[in-house]
Amino acid sequence: MSNTIDKNLDSGNNSMDSLSFYWMAKFEDSILFQFDNGKENRFQLVKDNLDKLIFFHLYQKDGNKRFIVDLKNGIIKYNSSSLPEIKEEKNNIRLIYFRRHTIKIGEIDLKEKSHIITYFLGLQWTFNNKNKNIILQINDNGDFIIDGK
């Protein structure tokens, strides 16, 4: 699997250098990479096929850290280890994924002093008619914290 992903890391001339993690979506009948031979696939393609989504990977562009969301079993793995999970019946499991950009600017010499991207990755499900979730907040280095409710 990792070799397959590595072959598809080519981002061509796209200016994706600001991203340290790329995604890969595994559906029931196909696999979709964020980058495929220099072309970027928009996340819209994942949103349009959520009912077929089995796994969603977030993997480090220049490293070996990988987060895997298992949409069928409602668990999240970091590299090959499962993260602590809430053991309860999970219905209607949904993917949570977005990038939060925090851009700090100065009154004087307002170059973009810092542009921090935090990756939010997780699951939302329904239990006893209540929505519950677990979300990882992952920084550029792949360090993460776990949040949920």
Binding site: R42, F98, R100, H101, I103, K111
Partner: protein, 162 residues
């Protein structure tokens, strides 16, 4: 590529845009990237207003949850920066406006809309320009404000992207 973000400042009666804008120096002149030693603010006066907005280019699916706040930089006596979210552009003025103090925490941040008035900027949607609406900013001083440069301020713009 993912969305690329740039800050833009507009000035003048005919709206001259500077993008990307290199600084947000407040002063006694309606111009972008002004030299504060050339255009200092007289104690007791207000600066010219700044009309700041963001522009997104590249490709994305949705940009949402856009916020703006002052995240660092203490005021000196009698100093305050006022701000209004989602303002309509008008020729910047040094006349004190009625805007409120710029929020200083993420929890109270200004909620920023797209130029079209939506809370989500959807890629490729009809009529989407990729701009946000303007944040109008103005520095206010009083007679008790000490002479000399104030403390440097830092502002934060935050958004979610997929």
């Amino acid at each position: 590529m993912a969305a690329t973000h740039q800050f833009s400042e507009s000035n003048g009666a005919g709206e001259v845009e500077t993008i990307p804008v290199a600084n947000l120096n407040f002063g006694s002149n309606d111009s972008a990237e002004l030299d504060t030693t050339t255009y200092p603010i007289t104690r007791g006066d207000d600066s010219f207003e700044k009309y700041l907005r963001s522009k997104f280019t590249g490709t994305w699916t949705e940009i949402s949850n856009m916020k703006f706040w002052k995240s660092a930089g203490a005021y000196v006596t009698g100093e305050e920066i006022k701000a209004a979210a989602n303002a309509t552009y008008a020729q910047p003025s040094a006349t004190p406006n009625a805007d409120s103090a710029v929020p200083t925490t993420e929890g109270t941040a200004l909620a920023i809309q797209s130029a079209e008035g939506d809370v989500v900027i959807t890629y490729g949607a009809s009529g989407v320009s990729g701009y946000t609406k303007y944040v109008r900013l103005q520095t206010h001083s009083t007679g008790s404000t000490p002479a000399g440069a104030g403390n440097q301020k830092t502002f934060t713009f935050q958004y979610d992207e997929v």
